[in-house]
């Protein structure tokens, strides 16, 4: 074989070898994960709600909008309406199952934004150090200290006005889009911190110096060496961020920023509050979306902690 062909074969084989090693590691991680009962329970619950989010119509029929209410107002749970009805007579179970899609979709998209910003800032800050690091960390600290909820509260109406209420972007209504964006740009700070400290510890390792010595560029190093090692931490963190995003979205919707036509669980709770349900004891209306939220957030938290204890090198030693 000529040198060039040999080099190509070697590289391809090396690349194949890398994937095989990754696959083996992944299996090892999955095996460890399966051993943690809490994590497995979390995954099961998430699966259940994902199904609700993907095919709500299959489970409870079409969404009951105001004009298609199926029952009496404020009916307590009965065989026809397992979770009772709301102030307009809509079946609460129907609302909750359809709400899964909204809540989880918002959570997912907000999480993507949060983690993207946080990871980029974390890696860049941790890798470069010096001035850039200090500046980025100052900004991050600012966002950590600031009551981001209040920031979200004031940003949301401003953004809504700017973008024009009632319009759509990429097929998403402005109301929802604003919530997603607002959660995304206010929640990235703790992710950035975590990623940065991990990046810092990786940067100190020998193979980074080796890569530098042979002339690899910073971008290359960040992509090829740091990112794969931070990836596992990012994944564990993403799961926890998702849990937080769902909670934040719930709260934002509750104070009136939610979309009334496509109600998330938070928005359902807002309806409940404004219709006076707690005052008259319509517990089913309040409890149902809340329990759904608790289940989803709890399960993501459990999974996130399980992943964290496996993947986070600082915690993996201790148990």
């Amino acid at each position: 074989m000529t040198g060039e062909v040999a080099a190509q074969v070697f590289t391809r084989r090396a690349r194949g070898e890398r994937w095989r090693i990754r696959a083996r590691q992944l299996r090892g991680i999955l095996r460890q994960f399966a051993r943690q009962r809490s994590g497995v329970l979390g995954v099961l619950i998430i699966a259940l709600f994902t199904i609700c989010a993907l095919v709500p119509d299959l489970l409870v029929g079409p969404f009951e909008s105001v004009t298609r209410a199926s029952g009496e107002k404020f009916d307590s749970p009965s065989p026809t309406h397992i979770l009772g009805t709301d102030e307009l007579g809509r079946d609460v179970l129907n609302l909750v199952v359809h709400g899964a899609r909204i809540s989880m979709a918002i959570g997912l998209m907000a999480t993507i934004i949060t983690v993207a910003i946080g990871a980029v800032i974390g890696i860049v800050a941790g890798f470069n150090g010096g001035r850039l690091d200090t500046i980025l960390m100052r900004i991050t600290d600012f966002f950590l200290i600031l009551p981001t909820f209040v920031l979200a509260l004031v940003l949301a109406p401003v953004l809504r006005e700017l973008l024009g209420e009632g319009s759509e972007f990429f097929g998403i209504r402005v109301t929802l889009l604003v919530i997603i964006v607002v959660i995304g740009i206010t929640s990235w700070a703790s992710t950035a911190r975590i990623i940065r400290s991990q990046t810092l510890s990786i940067r100190e390792r020998a193979y980074i110096d080796r890569a530098r010595a042979i002339g690899a560029s910073s971008g290359h190093i960040m992509r090829r060496h740091i990112l794969p090692n931070v990836l596992s931490l990012i994944v564990a963190n993403t799961v926890l961020v998702f849990a937080g995003s769902v909670l934040t979205e719930t709260t934002l919707s509750f104070v009136g920023l939610g979309d009334q036509l496509a109600p998330s669980w938070g928005q359902i709770l807002a309806f409940a509050q404004s219709s006076g349900a707690p005052g008259i004891g319509a517990w089913w209306y309040t409890a149902s979306p809340g329990i759904a939220i608790v289940l989803v957030v709890l399960s993501f938290t459990l999974v996130g902690h399980a992943l964290d204890s496996i993947l986070n090198p600082k915690l993996a030693g201790r148990r």
């Binding site: 209040v150 109406p157 700017l162 719930t250 509750f254 104070v255 004891g281 517990w283 309040t286």
Partner: protein, 345 residues
């Protein structure tokens, strides 16, 4: 020795507050045509009179020390102005210095600062008591759990904490309301005082407020107890594994002395940090909890302002809340500096 640490923290806090001011300012002036449009809502006015009004309110001045203007076409960068002080930002800062936060739309022109100062004490009351309860019970339970590891109560405690942690604060409040106020009728459902009540003495007044305070304060406390106890438990567990605890045992010191003099002073450190970090998040909880219980504080004020598009009010509340949190964080940082000598060098 320690003064550099404190000075640095103070400096950071001031910087953050300045940043908050600027962000606040930009946010609320950047809505196209908003100030005068909304202030003059509904009134018919000629274009010339509008211009005069804008001039009177300084709305035609440059927005920032660089010439950024707001008009019907949105935000434009015009030029570098002749003077650095003849602009809206400086006017804004000046008025802030005089504690003038503008006039509320909602309340028909009442000073925002007045309304806020009216609604601030109830929030502080609710908040303060909730946090205090959470700290005492949460840290107490957590420390106990960490000290006596391995009992079955440990597992139960952790599970309960996790569940509490996954709940939106306000939802817990709604449930408590339904159970204890609407159904059992032990506590009133809304407000801070019974409306229209006539109190024979201040003591009766206090008791009435206390009755109204129980459920919301419990809600706030429960939301925090979960986190606090979990953290304290893991902090105590970590400290117990440290060598200096073994030294303390080797010295023949008794258990509670070891806990008091060696374990707790070290376990408190991450606890204080957590309380500080949480301050920003509690605001979210406080706002929504107030909403649930119709508690007449800043939270309800914020939500109402949001609903009625009372931008000066929202801007004012944002300012007050943010600055409070920054200051509270500063205090927490200072406390940490006192507790942990290592950060002072």
């Amino acid at each position: 020795m320690g003064s550099r640490f404190f000075a640095r923290r103070l400096g950071q806090a001031i910087l953050t507050i300045l940043f908050v001011l600027v962000v606040n300012f930009i946010l609320f002036r950047s809505l196209p045509g908003s100030p005068e449009r909304i202030l003059l809502r509904g009134t018919r006015i000629s274009a010339q009179a509008l211009e005069n009004q804008r001039d009177k309110w300084g709305l035609n001045d440059p927005l920032l020390p660089i010439d950024l203007r707001i008009d019907d076409q949105g935000i434009r960068l015009v030029d570098f102005p002749a003077s650095l002080t003849d602009n809206q930002l400086v006017a804004y800062v000046e008025s802030l210095a005089q504690l003038d936060l503008g006039l509320s739309f909602q309340f028909r022109g009442r000073a925002v600062a007045d309304v806020i100062s009216e609604k601030l004490p109830p929030t502080l009351l609710l908040f303060g008591i909730g946090e205090a309860i959470a700290i005492v019970i949460g840290f107490g339970l957590g420390a106990l759990a960490g000290w006596r590891r391995g009992r079955p109560s440990d597992y139960v405690g952790t599970s309960v904490s996790l569940v509490l942690y996954s709940m939106p604060y306000f939802w817990l409040g709604m449930i408590l309301l339904i159970i204890f106020a609407a159904t059992l009728r032990w506590f009133p459902t809304t407000g801070m005082v019974t409306p229209g009540a006539d109190f024979a003495s201040p003591v009766e007044h206090v008791i009435d407020v206390a009755r109204h305070l129980v459920l919301p304060a419990t809600t706030v406390a429960l939301g925090l107890i979960g986190q606090y106890s979990l953290l304290m438990r893991s902090a105590v567990t970590e400290v117990l594994a440290e060598d200096y605890v073994q030294t303390a045992r080797a010295k023949g010191l008794k258990g509670d002395r070891i806990l008091r003099d060696h374990v707790l002073p070290n376990a408190m450190l991450p606890a204080v940090t957590l309380v500080a970090i949480n301050l920003g998040y509690i605001v979210a909880g406080a706002i929504t909890v107030e909403q649930v219980f119709s508690w007449p504080g800043l939270g309800t004020l914020t939500v109402d302002a949001l609903r009625t598009r009372d931008y000066p009010m929202m801007s004012g509340v944002f300012l007050v809340l943010s600055i409070s949190v920054v200051l509270a964080n500063l205090v927490a940082d200072m406390i940490y500096g006192v507790l942990d000598p290592r950060v002072r060098t």
